[in-house]
Symmetry: C2
Subunit: 367 residues, 2 copies
């Protein structure tokens, strides 16, 4: 068996040691004579796994005690609808800062439930930057301000500005952030956010489970009429076991958390992610325009690097030849075309080095 370097934007590469453990335990987990995917979520065995995953995630990210942590089925999109249902009164204004594709789709989920104010929009400038904070048109009594911490398709990420953290200052209105493609990739100050949510399938592990981190006082908001299964309070009160949770996915995420802690935690992944993305951006910038990334340097994503070749023929050749060279999933998202390298936590530095080597070689042969 040969494992490739997998640059998939999500579902994405997992640590080999985690897959090996899941493989070893597939028919008999922890000596119980059954797989963990076959046992009750209400069993003491699974409850211990679930609680340990939460504790490890709290340690990993540094989640304060006054935040609830939920593990829910479905991905980030479902949470985008639930945010409005749980935290906005019917018809209340919610402020959205749109910096790419996912910020736009978030609005689609919210529109039936709240009055959406687009406080800032990067689209007129082609989603190449984060609109300057002083131009944002925020609503004083908005239910919340929503940002997308990293845009997976457009490769635009909120980065630290003027020596301060990456979280924009939005005053007393709670800041909600879709962290699907950058959670746990560097230290974050959770206390700056009201809600942080993320599908797990990029930086945290497997597809099929989402993590939602909620400042507990927000759970006291009445929100609007909704089914019990759409109520974060009910999920929080039942430790995310209001109904049958995606147990195997939760377990696998827990294995990834342990791996991340053993590797040195988010500080170490911040170092690796900065290194990997610098390698690729440097290769792009040193290519004399053969490779192009169009995002302004101060908003370039460390996680997803969309880039372009001079024409479609070269792009198709790059995708085919890189795949043959053991570099998987470098084709860009259909919304923007070109190429994309996703460099999540579980992607080793060696993968970025291999990609850069391939890029040099490809340019030599085709430039």
């Amino acid at each position: 068996m040969t494992r490739v370097f997998n640059f998939s934007a999500g579902p994405a590469t997992l640590p080999e040691s985690v897959l090996l453990q899941a493989q070893a335990e597939m028919l008999d987990w922890n000596g119980v004579g059954a797989s963990i995917v076959e046992i009750s979520h209400r069993s003491a065995d699974f409850i211990a796994v679930a609680a340990e995953a939460e504790a490890d995630l709290r340690t990993l990210i540094g989640i304060p005690e006054n935040y609830a942590v939920l593990f829910l089925s479905g991905g980030a999109t479902t949470q985008q609808a639930l945010l409005a249902l749980n935290f906005a009164a019917p018809g209340q204004t919610v402020d959205y800062v749109v910096t790419g594709h996912w910020g736009k789709t978030a609005i689609k989920q919210v529109a039936p439930y709240a009055k959406v104010n687009i406080a800032a929009d990067g689209e007129p400038e082609g989603f190449r930057s984060i609109p300057a904070r002083d131009g944002w048109k925020l609503t004083p009594d908005a239910a919340y301000v929503h940002i997308t911490a990293n845009e997976t398709i457009h490769g635009v990420e909120f980065r630290p500005v003027d020596g301060k953290g990456a979280a924009p200052d939005v005053g007393s209105v709670p800041l909600f952030a879709d962290f699907s493609s950058s959670i746990a990739s560097e230290p974050i100050d959770v206390s700056k956010y009201g809600v942080i949510y993320a599908g797990a399938q990029k930086n945290l592990g497997p597809v099929g489970v989402a993590v939602v981190i909620i400042r507990r006082d927000l759970l006291e908001r009445s929100g609007q009429p909704r089914a019990d299964i759409f109520d974060y309070r009910s999920h929080a009160a039942r430790d995310s076991m209001l109904n049958t949770p995606p147990t195997w996915n939760w377990y696998l995420a827990g294995l990834v958390f342990k791996w991340m802690l053993a590797q040195g935690g988010v500080a170490e992944f911040a170092r690796r992610n900065a290194l990997k993305s610098k390698l690729v951006y440097d290769a792009i910038d040193a290519s004399g325009g053969f490779y192009r990334n169009e995002v302004v340097p101060q908003a370039r994503s460390r996680m997803n690097i969309p880039y372009f070749l001079p024409d479609e023929t070269l792009t198709a050749r790059f995708v085919a030849e890189s795949k043959a060279a053991g570099l998987l999933a470098l084709k860009g998202h259909k919304a923007v075309g070109g190429l994309r390298a996703s460099l999540y936590n579980a992607l080793p530095v060696e993968a970025a080095q291999a990609l850069v080597g391939f890029m040099h070689d490809f340019q030599k042969r085709n430039g």
Copy 2:
């Protein structure tokens, strides 16, 4: 490694051959150099897996072409809320026939969105039977009539009556059924239903994915305002890939479908399930009252058999000793206590035989 006989009510036992295949493919699926949990849901590789799972499920259950089949994240509870959002006009009456715990919780999800009429309720008689059809108080212009085909906790199942199928006749109003714990356990006439939905984790495979089978004309109903992610039409139009689906869970379900087809399909599982449940009910009925099941014979579930010993001490001893004997998860649900044996498709006949042997022995020693 010793695999036990696993009587869990869900998540539940899986075919060993399926687990072995998933184990073998864990680090390298189909020679791509990555696990299937690591590749994009938009890749041709995964789309083929997804389409094959749908085609196999259609063959297995006999789903007509005029029904859409969705594979969605979350379990049955989420669907219970979505049914009203998609198929009932705001405030329209929906009829619910309550035959156990899950019928009751279904109403909780629907209450914010529709006017619930409890057309029949088995609770006054302790959920020991299906209320006779001629006593149901149906609403002529209801959006739908909802039943729970099998109640996992109370062990009450809709069974064929008077030589006709198990689906009650509700006239022209569409019949919606929660089939979570009995789907694909025997042949069903899908055309009698408007919607059939089921969490996969009992008879269809792994936890973390739900199957929703919808008569296509119902998708033309406007329902009520809802987020795009809550709209069955959007999921149907995008082949259940509106957002990132639980790919690994979907893949594992597909392996279970192939296993079921290879074993002889639902006709064969109907035979095995009838045999397994007869073995256990006969042992209960022949015990002279040492073991008790309280459901009337014509509504006894083939899937879940709740039963009782004379006292709590014996119950605790039975649970502990059966576990030590390699018979897992026989403790009853906390809502009713006692014992429960769940006998889903993947539980072999040998497991029911072993349970009956243990029951005889336990009675001899304690009766």
